[in-house]
Amino acid sequence: MNGWILAAAVVLAAGLGATLRGVVTGPLRRRAAAQNLSTALACPALLLLAQGYARPAYVDLALVLAVLGPVGTLVFARLLADELADDPPHARTATFTAAALGAAVVVAVSVATGPGRALVKLLVIGALLVGGNLVASRALAGGMQEGRRD
C-alpha cells in the first residue's frame, strides 16, 4: 500500500476528471479555464507519482509540465482573445484551490525528500507551478486585452 500513489490516483480521478467535464461542456470561457486547471492539477499528480515510484528522475516530467502548461494557456489566451473578450473567464476559487493543492504537494514531497539538490529542484518546480498558474489565469481573465489596448 503506497500512500503517494493513492494520493496521485485521487488527484487524477477527482481533479482531472472534473477538468475533463469542464473542458467538454459549457461555454468557451469555462473550457479555457478548465484547460488551464488541467495542467495545474496534472503537475502535482506527476510529483506524487515520482515520489510513489521512488524514482527522482520522474520529477523532470513535472518540471516540463510546470514550464509548458502556462505556455499552452498563454497560447489560448492570445489566439482566443477576440472570443474571450466579451465574456472573460473568472475561475478564481478553482485557480486558488489548484495553486494551494500544488503548494501542499510540493511541501509534502519536499519534506519526504530531505535537504539536498533534489529539494532545490522541487522548490523551483513549486514556484514555477504556482506562479505560472496565477499568471496564466490572469492572462485568461483579461490581461491580454489590457496589453493589446496600449
Partner: protein, 96 residues
C-alpha cells in the same frame, strides 16, 4: 495500488479521446486536445515510460493547440478577406 492508477489514467484517456472526437468545433477541439496531451503523458508515466511522456508533453500541451489555432485563424481571415471567393463560401458554409 499501481494497477488502480493505471485504470484511472486509462479511463481518463478513453473519456478525453472520445470527447475530442465528439466535439465538432475546431477551436473547442484544440482545447480538448491540449487536455488529452497532458492525460496521455500521465498514462505513459504510469506505464513506466517517462521518456515517451516527456516528448508527449512537449508536443501535446503547447505545440498541437498552437498549430490548430493558427490554422483556424488563417482560414477565418481568408474567408473574411474574400467573401465571394471559393474559400469564403466554404468558410461560411462550414462555420458555426
Amino acid at each position: 495500488m499501481t494497477e488502480a492508477v493505471i485504470v484511472v489514467a486509462l479511463l481518463l484517456v478513453g473519456a478525453c479521446a472520445t470527447a475530442a472526437v465528439a466535439v465538432r468545433d475546431p477551436v473547442r477541439q484544440s482545447l480538448v486536445l491540449a487536455v488529452l496531451g497532458v492525460v496521455l503523458a500521465v498514462l505513459f508515466t504510469v506505464l513506466q515510460a517517462p521518456d515517451v511522456g516527456l516528448s508527449q508533453l512537449a508536443v501535446g500541451s503547447a505545440l498541437t493547440p498552437l498549430l490548430l489555432l493558427l490554422t483556424v485563424r488563417k482560414v477565418r481571415r481568408r474567408a473574411q478577406r474574400a467573401p465571394d471567393g471559393p474559400a469564403g463560401r466554404r468558410g461560411r458554409e462550414g462555420g458555426p
